[in-house]
């Protein structure tokens, strides 16, 4: 018995060594970038491999704020990501409710069409979507970054699957008490679905916060650039100053990192759900 216990300890020891080695490979780039953001330009060039800066400085952060309107970029990212996330929660709840709870002609057909659209990659339709937005004179506006994403097939699908699991009796009881469909959705179904709504919200927010392709295509003006696009342009226009670039990268990454650490469970759940859709 004791020998078995020892061999298990050894086995777990080896596992930990392997896993930690892998984890270091994954995290190291972040650490190195992060530490570079606190180094003076001279040290970045003369001593790039030190993980701990010899002289700790905030000059790179100061420079980022003075050389580009990063506060504005940050605000734009918040505006765009929040608008997309909130409107998806609203529109997807409604359509998911219809597909899960209401009877209407062509319901299944319409639902399958919705599912089929999930197979169309964004990259394939970027040209016609640009043309459509241009037709409505929306290029270079917040609307161009937000409108194409105010609802989604994925969100509808995710919420519908959850709404289906809520027992029918609950609905009947609510209607007996004189509740309307909208009242039932808002007062009963949505509070019940808080975890899945959180998953959808976090996923949508992360996706739009990190989105680079879309702002790149539909905006030109510097005032409405989002963080990701703004940073990418900063590198192209301003030449490479690694300390400043890493400071900008840190600013762009921290919000998502915090959200992720708070809501890890929803993240993992969301991936599991997207990954194992039947």
């Amino acid at each position: 018995m004791r020998r078995r216990k020892i061999s298990r300890h050894i086995k777990h020891g080896i596992l930990h060594v392997l896993l930690i080695a892998g984890a270091i490979l994954m995290i190291f780039p972040f650490l190195w970038g992060f530490s570079t953001s606190f180094k003076e330009m001279r040290e970045v060039l003369s001593n790039p491999y030190n993980l701990i800066p010899k002289r700790f400085t905030l000059i790179n952060y100061q420079n980022v704020f003075t050389s580009i309107p990063i506060g504005r970029f940050f605000l734009n990212s918040v505006i765009v990501s929040l608008s997309i996330t909130l409107s998806q929660l609203f529109t997807c709840s409604l359509s998911a409710y219809a597909f899960a709870r209401l009877r209407f002609p062509f319901r299944n057909g319409l639902f399958y069409i919705l599912l089929a659209t999930m197979m169309i990659p964004q990259h394939v339709i970027m040209v016609p979507v640009y043309i459509i937005l241009n037709f409505f004179r929306l290029i270079d506006t917040y609307a161009a970054m937000i409108l194409p994403f105010v609802s989604s097939a994925f969100g509808t699908f995710l919420l519908r699957q959850f709404f289906m699991t809520v027992p029918k009796e609950l609905e009947e009881a609510a209607f007996l008490d004189g509740c309307s469909h909208l009242g039932f959705l808002i007062r009963i179904l949505i509070p019940l679905s808080r975890p899945i709504l959180a998953t959808l919200a976090i996923f949508t927010f992360m996706w739009s916060w990190n989105n680079y392709l879309w702002p790149l295509i539909v905006t030109n003006r510097i005032e409405i650039r989002t963080l990701q696009y703004g940073l990418a342009m900063f590198k192209e226009e301003g030449g490479i100053n690694w300390g400043q670039l890493m400071a900008g990268t840190t600013i762009a990454t921290i919000p998502i990192l915090i959200i992720f650490l708070i809501a890890q469970k929803q993240f993992i759940e969301g991936i599991t759900l997207t990954g194992l859709k039947e």
Partner: protein, 308 residues
């Protein structure tokens, strides 16, 4: 039937968005691809000419081949690493939460941020990768600015010259691939982990009682039951890698000498830099056909339940 009106109202916002920004565009793209159009002058119908031009274009073939190369670099390694990490994590080991966060961090970092960090790592001078190369006695590479094939470079270091067509993907494309593996492995790991946790413990206990060792248990239980998940991940990874864009757009813009030009970047360049909208759309449709075929495979085989 009372429900119909309400249902229409409820699905209207979603259907408006889907129709205007997905369904309409996918047909519109097909139509544009039969036209010569620069967004300013009127469209001119030219039938299949854009597709003909595409197949005669050396640049398009280069983009297609690079995309396939990129798929071969990233997908197998990414899927194998993801599976191995998931297997290691599925051993009721302590600290699983920490490891999960560590492996997942790159997934939620934006492409722009991760591309910056990796450009810093890949730098030819002062880059840490070349520093490590120096330590183990290898020649430094200009990772993101080397159009030569990896095999060419490898054999050259032994003084052997090989023909160009044997050179393989460019060093630059491989570097972008390494970055992508780092970024995506955590995502597939989570999916594998979910698949692994669905396997009942009792299967393993029964096998252990029958005297099956860990290797045997892996090949007789884990792998067969996990096969639908593996297949799903595999196809998804291929679909994702065919759409690679951001990594290239932020780091190399397809260069040097088109050695990291990929399909989506080709489409982007033709449409938004040269305003050859029709031509770009025809390339986009080729990509769509490839993705559609892969999705069809996925649905069909998953539908058949691989492990029975």
């Amino acid at each position: 039937m009372r429900d119909t009106k309400r249902a229409i109202l409820f699905i209207l916002p979603t259907y408006l968005v889907i129709t205007i920004f997905i369904i309409l565009p996918i047909f519109f793209a097909l139509y544009i691809s039969f036209n010569k159009w620069n967004l300013l002058a009127p469209m001119k119908f030219i039938g299949l000419s854009n597709y003909g031009k595409l197949f005669r274009s050396e640049e398009f073939w280069k983009a297609l081949i690079n995309t396939v190369y990129y798929t071969f670099i990233t997908v197998p390694l990414c899927v194998i690493f993801a599976l191995v990490i998931a297997l290691l994590l599925n051993t009721r080991i302590k600290g699983i939460a920490f490891y999960r966060v560590a492996y997942f961090m790159p997934v939620m970092t934006s492409f722009v941020a991760s591309a910056f960090i990796w450009q810093w790592i890949f730098q030819s001078q002062n880059g840490i990768l070349n520093f490590v190369f120096g330590l183990i006695g290898l020649k430094p590479l200009s990772w993101l600015n080397e159009p030569k094939g990896v095999f060419t470079v490898l054999f050259e270091s032994f003084g052997v010259h090989i023909p160009r067509w044997l050179g393989g993907p460019s060093v630059t494309l491989v570097a972008i691939g390494i970055m992508s593996i780092w970024k995506n492995v955590g995502y597939y790991m989570i999916i594998f982990l979910a698949g692994l946790q669905n396997i009942p413990r009792s299967y393993y206990e029964a096998a252990e009682m029958d005297g099956a060792g860990p290797v045997r248990r892996f090949f007789s239980i884990t792998l067969p039951i996990l096969s639908p998940t593996t297949f799903f991940v595999l196809i998804m990874a291929v679909i994702v890698s065919f759409q690679v864009f951001e990594q290239v757009a932020v780091t190399t813009q397809g260069g040097p000498l088109n050695s990291s030009l990929v399909l989506v970047y080709f489409v982007y360049q033709k449409a938004f830099k040269f305003l050859e909208v029709g031509y770009a759309s025809s390339a986009a449709y080729i990509l769509f056909a490839i993705v559609l075929f892969l999705t069809y495979l996925q649905v069909k085989v998953i539908g058949k339940r691989v492990h029975y």
